[in-house]
């Protein structure tokens, strides 16, 4: 399937030029309204306070100004030396790993159940996993906070039988719960689509040769659905990494996730340069994850085109 599609993409000279021109409008839009500000922001974090950055520079506190032509890493050094920042990076990475792991397990469970058992119930479960896609994140965060808080559902249910359940509002755990809730749909869609496309014949053959359910899954289904699973993983991780709304509503004052830190450094501490250092940190971490995505895609493209 994939091979024929790639081969069928036309690549003649004039058509290639036409294709390039057609692809330009959205790229220009992004380059002007997102790319340029990003470049300027990174420049500001390196101490370049002139040009459009002079607006911010005129009210910022604790600013590091470039002394050499390319800039200075002083703002980065300052942040890395802050214990609080290091803790927040660690928590952000931890929440990202935990949420991604839980999301992946749930998505795999839902998808395998749909593939191997099938039926109306399995379909209903999969549909259930997609519902959060359609709920705005602000509402989701708020709903989750009230559900797990001191006077929320969980504690109410336990109180019915005289037990005292822990209040989960404003904890790191709440951020993980919220992140899992909001990221689940995309992962379910990716993973189940990947696993659905494994042909019946392959599964039957593996089973006929005596492989159990676990082995069939591990050595046949998962390798064949490798790419969608990697995509689900990387997109979930990148989404959680830079999230703001969920941790802002449901998380504790300390430790905090980096997305919330940006807001604080901007507004509450009046240190926009340091805020951008945090933004760049998120971007670098996300790029690290994105490499996994690109690697997986190229690996599969190469192995299939050869």
């Amino acid at each position: 399937m994939r091979r024929t599609r790639v081969a069928a993409r036309s690549s003649g000279q004039p058509r290639a030029v036409l294709g390039f021109v057609m692809a330009l409008p959205p790229l220009l839009l992004i380059a002007v309204f997102a790319g340029l500000p990003i470049v300027l922001a990174v420049g500001y974090s390196l101490g370049h306070t002139g040009g459009l950055n002079s607006v911010t520079a005129s009210y910022a506190q604790h600013q590091h100004v470039a002394t050499s032509g390319w800039g200075t890493f002083a703002a980065y050094r300052e942040m890395l030396a802050t214990g609080r920042f290091r803790t927040d990076v660690a928590v952000t990475v931890l929440v990202t790993l935990l949420s991604t792991a839980v999301v992946l397990v749930l998505a795999l469970g839902i998808a395998l159940n749909l593939r191997l058992r099938g039926g109306r119930v399995a379909g209903a479960i999969a549909a259930l996993g997609v519902i959060p896609l359609f709920i705005p994140v602000v509402i989701a965060s708020w709903a989750i906070l009230t559900f797990y808080s001191t006077d929320g559902f969980i504690r109410s249910v336990f109180a019915q039988v005289g037990l005292d359940a822990p209040a989960l509002g404003f904890k790191v755990v709440t951020i993980v719960i919220g992140s899992v809730w909001t990221s689940l749909p995309f992962a379910v869609l990716m993973v189940s689509s990947g696993i659905q496309s494994v042909p019946d014949a392959v599964i039957d053959a593996a089973r006929d040769s005596g492989a159990g359910l676990l082995r069939t899954t591990r050595s046949v289904i998962l390798p064949m659905a490798f790419i969608p699973i990697v995509i689900a993983t990387t997109f979930t991780a990148i989404g959680v990494l830079g999230s703001f709304t969920v941790p802002y509503f449901t998380g504790p004052n300390s430790p905090r996730m980096l997305g919330v830190d940006i807001q604080n450094y901007f507004a509450a501490y009046n240190q926009p340069q340091q805020a951008i250092v945090i933004a760049v940190t998120i971007f670098v971490l996300a790029s690290g994850i994105a490499v996994l995505y690109i690697w997986a895609n190229f690996r599969s493209a190469n192995s299939k085109d050869l």
């Binding site: 409008p25 959205p26 749930l106 006077d151 689509s193």
Partner: protein, 270 residues
């Protein structure tokens, strides 16, 4: 047989937990929209009322926000489609230098936290005269939809079998006719999914909208924070339900295609 039973019991348990996990918070909040008051640890409210709905509907500022959200979302979808669909076709059907880099670049700019860009964006929008204009807000919203509107339709265009198009052309159809009679209908589910995702992205955008739109254009998400903390919890619940209605309608509309793998297809880099 015993094993099968265990699996079934485990599965039912898993399903029950999942239902509570996904739907619980929504129901718990939703019920409040009809509640007079609620005393911990009761599982149901103290009484029922429609009072909060009347209050929300009577509030002028809120209904303006609802109207704006319902305007900007479809507007964004249309503008985004006009700008991005030709590009999606090019990405799906043509091979040109830097194609993959462009695809990844579209995604990469999205991964930079927008909060770091407000000041520069504000300066630029002022310089271009876009501040407090409908066009300015639409630009902010469209930026958040470009990934969906290029990636997903690109995969859909790429998946249209060439043999069908060639057959139509052999039968004497003009290129435009082939495109509208063969290519577009086959790629339509993918485009539809991209439109739904774009609608939702626009519907959810709050930070940038506030930057560009304040004080003239406020949308539902920009108002949500004040609502949540400012009004009784019950009114926030009513507002949440209202905010979810368009999404749920879309879910009903595009459910089949989204579950059918159109979304998943779109995110594979080819």
């Amino acid at each position: 047989m015993a094993r099968r039973l265990t699996t079934n019991v485990l599965l039912t348990l898993f399903l029950a937990l999942l239902v509570v996990f996904i739907l619980g918070p929504l129901l718990w909040l939703g019920i409040r929209a009809f509640a007079t008051s609620w005393t911990y640890p009761n599982l149901l409210p103290d009484g029922w009322t429609l009072e909060w709905w009347r209050k929300v509907i009577a509030d002028n500022q809120l209904s303006t926000a609802v109207q704006n959200s319902l305007t900007f979302a479809p507007l964004t979808v249309i503008v985004s489609a006009v700008i991005c669909l030709p590009a999606a076709y090019a990405f799906g059907r043509h091979d040109f230098a830097g194609r993959k880099i462009m695809l990844v670049g579209i995604f990469a700019t999205n991964a930079f936290p927008k909060m770091g860009l407000f000041v520069t964006m504000a300066s630029m929008f002022y310089a271009l005269g876009l501040m407090q204009t409908v066009l300015g807000i639409v630009i902010v919203h469209v930026m958040g939809t470009v990934v969906f509107m290029t990636w997903i339709p690109a995969a859909a265009f790429g998946a249209v079998p060439r043999s069908l198009e060639e057959a139509a052309r052999d039968a004497g159809a003009s290129p435009a006719r082939v495109f509208f009679r063969v290519t577009l209908p086959l790629a339509l589910p993918g485009i539809l999914v991209a439109m739904v995702m774009s609608f939702l992205a626009s519907f959810d955008e709050a930070q940038g909208t506030y930057l560009v739109g304040y004080p003239d254009y406020l949308t539902m998400p920009t108002q949500m924070y004040s609502l949540v903390l400012n009004y009784p919890l019950q009114m926030a619940a009513v507002f949440s339900i209202l905010l979810s209605i368009p999404s749920v309608l879309l879910l009903a509309l595009a459910h089949r295609h989204i579950m059918g793998g159109q979304l998943a297809e779109g995110f594979q880099l080819r």
